[in-house]
């Protein structure tokens, strides 16, 4: 990066708060979240769209922040794992992931959580097959997924009853 590296400014809403930030135009949303905004909860494992660790929610849909040029996000509504809690209260998905062992090393967890959140927001009664499908863009090397499926279904159940 040199002095003549093109730069871009965007305004977006991140976890409900307006932010305005300027960065090298070549940066993806992943880089802007982690490096410009200090939101390191969003992880990366390939930066090429191949692992799902960087999944966040943009305008209500789960997407890969490593494939989205940050310049494209002007006006976007971005949700990351840092915004998942309701003040000091864990989101039901977070409770369920914690209780049921769905996070081992925890590195893939933010991506899974944000993807699952989008799923349950859109489809609160998701079946196990629908959960598998929705999460099929995230890889986890630790868990073998079973406890993740259980956690999403258990959270769905709790959210449905609440």
């Amino acid at each position: 990066m040199t002095d003549d590296t093109p730069r871009t400014s965007v305004r977006m809403t991140v976890n409900g708060e307006d932010v305005e930030t300027t960065f090298g135009t070549h940066k993806t949303l992943l880089e802007v979240l982690r490096e410009e905004l200090g939101l390191t909860g969003t992880k990366h494992g390939c930066e090429l769209g191949e692992c799902g660790a960087c999944a966040v929610e943009v305008d209500g849909k789960p997407i890969l922040s490593c494939l989205l040029m940050a310049a494209e996000c002007d006006g976007a509504k971005v949700e990351t794992v840092e915004g998942l809690m309701d003040d000091a209260r864990l989101h039901p998905l977070q409770e369920a992931f914690a209780d049921l062992g769905a996070a081992q090393c925890g590195y893939c967890t933010p991506g899974f959580l944000m993807t699952a959140k989008s799923l349950l927001d859109a489809n609160p009664k998701a079946t196990r097959a629908e959960v598998k499908e929705a999460l099929s863009g995230c890889l986890c090397r630790c868990t073998g997924y079973q406890q993740i499926f259980d956690a999403v279904l258990s959270a769905a159940d709790k959210m449905g009853r609440a």
Binding site: A55, S136, G137
Partner: protein, 354 residues
């Protein structure tokens, strides 16, 4: 962290503005969903001066019924939207099955139809970081002279897949193209010089470098399904190792128009993932007038598989991919005949969605 090289970014607000930007800067490149462009940038396969974003062109994101029948699908419609659109649930099931199986749900949420059709060809010697490609001395598609950036014109440099070949053999890996070719789709291209319509299959050339026949400054604006598409029946079979993420190493799009008593009145069978272009099997027309007996199906599958020329530059071994081509073509026809896919084995069960 893998990072894109320095570049500029601009939102085009209309197709004509985008076309104008492309015409004035030959190094400008279209950015649709970016799910192909961005990884290629990070691997330094491309070095555009500027990305021209289509994101704010609302017109590209519509699907309209045409007055004379048929449907026009804007190039900017996302694959997730296509995969659930009820208008494609029956006759155009091939399109649904194809789009629903692209990459992953996250990628389909931003990936567009236009980007999918213009997807760069793929090769294990090409879809690699710059450092890796340096270690093999680069190759014809992205040679040393450009610093490893992809070219569309031939250059005197070797192809590692077929060292004798004058042509790059990178593989057409779009799922939607074989499906849409089977459905008889046309595409509308727009540039500063105006627009033109051509059959989708003519958009492609069997050359891993110059794989699109369109000019660099032409924008794919819309995909048009023919007036009679609802009288067809179709399917799309995808072969890949894992049930998510993976590019097709074979795609079979099959569409038939059936007359009374199951006689075939028209047929289009297309193959993807086994050449540098998706192709319409030229013998498709030989099915016309026949009914889908096992013998007809077997004979046709043999013919079709002859056109598949997989090489050692994708996942899974190429003789096996060729073998499965025959199985998939036959099974796709059997499915259209009404056979139960569940009885065709586990690979068949996951090859089709919807």
């Amino acid at each position: 962290m893998m990072r894109a090289p320095p570049l500029r970014h601009v939102f085009a607000t209309s197709v004509s503005e985008a076309a104008h930007l492309l015409a004035t800067d030959p190094r400008a490149m279209i950015l649709a969903g970016g799910t192909d462009v961005v990884p290629n940038l990070k691997r330094r396969q491309f070095a555009p001066s500027m990305l021209v974003s289509l994101k704010r062109i609302e017109a590209l994101r519509t699907i309209r019924s045409l007055s004379g029948g048929g449907l026009s699908i804007g190039a900017g419609v996302s694959l997730s939207d296509l995969a659930v659109d009820a208008r494609f649930a029956k006759a155009a099931r091939a399109l649904r099955s194809a789009t629903a199986q692209v990459a992953t749900p996250h990628i389909r949420n931003v990936a567009t139809l236009g980007g999918n059709l213009c997807l760069d060809t793929r090769c294990t010697y090409y879809d690699q970081n710059l450092e890796w490609r340096q270690a093999i001395g680069y190759c014809m598609k992205a040679p040393k002279s450009t610093g490893g950036v992809a070219l569309r014109d031939k250059e005197d440099c070797i192809c590692w897949v077929a060292p004798q070949s004058p042509k790059c053999k990178a593989v057409s890996s779009t799922d939607s193209a074989p499906a849409l070719i089977a459905l008889g789709a046309n595409v509308v291209l727009e540039s500063k010089d105006g627009e033109r319509t051509l059959p989708l299959r003519e958009l492609y050339a069997d050359d891993g470098m110059a794989f699109l026949t369109k000019r660099g400054d032409e924008i794919l604006r819309e995909v048009v399904l023919p007036a009679d598409f609802e009288r067809w029946t179709s399917t799309y079979w995808k072969l890949r190792r894992r049930d998510s993420f993976d590019f097709p190493v074979l795609g079979v799009g099959a569409a038939l128009k059936l007359g009374s008593g199951g006689t075939i009145t028209d047929a289009r069978i297309a193959l993807g993932g086994v050449l540098s272009a998706p192709i319409l099997v030229p013998e498709s027309a030989t099915l016309v007038g026949k009914t889908l007996t096992d013998d007809v199906i077997t004979a046709f599958a043999e013919l079709a598989a002859k056109h598949a020329k997989p090489l050692d530059n994708t996942d899974l071994e190429f003789p096996w991919r060729k073998r499965v081509t025959k199985v998939f073509v036959a099974n796709a026809l059997k499915e259209l005949r009404g056979d139960d896919r569940a009885a065709m084995g586990r690979l068949a069960e996951r090859a089709v969605v919807g």
